[in-house]
């Protein structure tokens, strides 16, 4: 049996299958699986293979048909009640359900044609009525809301807000700003060192206001030591470090 020259567009594998069943004038409950499978495969071979997604759905059905075809060749399976099961049954049920909805779709279409002839009207609410608004009853509005509940809502918002602040990133932010430049700090310590011949490292740090400044100050001291501008001495471990201008 040939395939119509002009390929119809089918909505899906079930649609195509129903078409083939109709065209062959066979009973949906007794699908000649071999013949239908052959025609089905012929059809998808002629399909334009442009859309793999659509294609794959048709191929899944082809696989199902072939599966049924092979099962038909084997002795019939028997269910718990001892009845023979038809390998086509599941497919038949699916097809019938699908056919039913297709039929409903036509029914709906008919109804729509009628329903479209009915016209409605836009609201024409007189101004006086539209502008009328009921005064808000605060008591009623807050009914069931306790202060404790309000407070717990507030607390949970604050908690949420705190959680939103990423501790690591927020520190990155401060580094990016580079409020304290190393070269400026070195200049600052140089001036400080010429003014004070001998000074306490701890005291110097105490004058720094932010953690960042402390770190940069420390780096500046290391840098100045390297260049030999200053020397440091510490008597015992954990003792204050003395900085001496050389």
């Amino acid at each position: 049996m040939g395939i119509p020259v002009k390929l119809q567009a089918f909505e899906g594998p079930l649609d195509l299958l129903l078409h083939l069943i109709d065209k062959n004038k066979v009973n949906i409950y007794d699908i000649p699986i071999v013949e239908i499978t052959r025609q089905y495969l012929d059809y998808i071979q002629q399909m334009e293979k442009e859309d793999l997604n659509i294609m794959s759905e048709f191929l899944v059905m082809a696989a199902t048909l072939i599966d049924i075809k092979s099962k038909m060749l084997l002795p019939r399976e028997v269910n718990e009640e001892g009845d023979e099961t038809d390998p086509r049954q599941e497919l038949v049920e699916k097809l019938i359900e699908y056919k039913m909805y297709k039929y409903m779709a036509y029914e709906l279409k008919d109804r729509q044609i009628d329903a479209e002839k009915v016209l409605f009207k836009e609201p024409t609410i007189p101004k006086e009525i539209e502008e009328y608004s009921e005064p808000v009853n605060v008591e009623e509005l807050l009914d069931g809301l306790s202060l404790a509940r309000l407070h717990s809502i507030f607390k949970s918002i604050i908690r949420k807000q705190e959680n939103k602040i990423d501790p690591i990133r927020s520190r990155f932010g401060k580094i990016e700003k580079e409020e304290v430049s190393l070269s400026e700090k070195i200049e600052y310590i140089k001036v400080f060192a010429t003014e004070n011949n001998k000074f306490s490292f701890r005291k110097l740090l105490e004058e720094q206001c932010s953690k960042m400044e402390v770190i940069v100050t420390f780096l500046a001291i290391l840098e100045l030591m390297k260049t030999g501008l200053i020397a440091i001495s510490q008597e015992k471990i954990f003792d204050d470090i003395l900085i001496i201008t050389t």
Partner: protein, 189 residues
């Protein structure tokens, strides 16, 4: 209050609002219980239908709306704007009929019945306001559930989803009977 007065109020409400008005609201406005109000409205519906009137009242899932009779269409269209038409392709109609009969339904279930992906169809129907999300299914992935809208009822002239053409079971039986007949014919031959 006399019945005539009450009916006049209902008429005024439905006329003014234009859109569908819930039974409960109408009942509250006329200060009667819903049952009485419903009876009143149904009385009016019958009378509008019988009398030579250009308008009628339709019921939409416990709401009421005033509209023109469809016999008026050919005259109205000479003046009034064409109501917005949803040009529904076969795919959309098929998908819509599945949703209408099986609601609430997930996209996956629709796809199972149709045997094809249905994202596009579902999205289009939502866009046309013929279906909407009804919530989520209490299952893994919490998929969205879809159902038809009031606009669907209006667009297809259906009072409520229970009143949809043909009940599934009967239709299935019909198909079966048809099939059996065919089989019988074959056997007879």
């Amino acid at each position: 209050m006399e019945i005539q007065k009450l009916e006049a109020i209902i008429e005024a409400i439905l006329f003014t609002m234009g859109e569908s008005v819930e039974l409960s609201k109408i009942a509250a406005a006329i200060e009667h219980d819903e049952e009485t109000t419903k009876k009143l409205i149904h009385n009016m519906m019958d009378r509008y239908e019988k009398e030579d009137r250009g308008i009628k009242i339709v019921e939409l899932e416990n709401s009421y709306q005033m509209c023109t009779k469809k016999e008026m269409y050919e005259y109205l269209i000479r003046i009034a704007r064409q109501p917005k038409k949803h040009n529904l392709s076969e795919v959309l109609l098929e998908t819509l009929s599945i949703i209408a009969y099986k609601q609430p339904i997930t996209k996956l279930e629709i796809e199972k019945i149709r045997g094809v992906k249905s994202d596009h169809a579902v999205n289009k129907l939502v866009e046309y306001n013929l279906i909407h999300e009804l919530g989520r299914l209490d299952a893994p992935g919490r998929p969205l559930l879809f159902g038809t809208t009031e606009e669907f009822l209006r667009a297809f002239g259906v009072q409520s989803i229970d009143e949809l053409p043909l009940i599934n079971q009967e239709q299935v039986e019909g198909f079966k009977a048809e099939a059996e007949e065919e089989v019988q014919l074959k056997l007879d031959v």
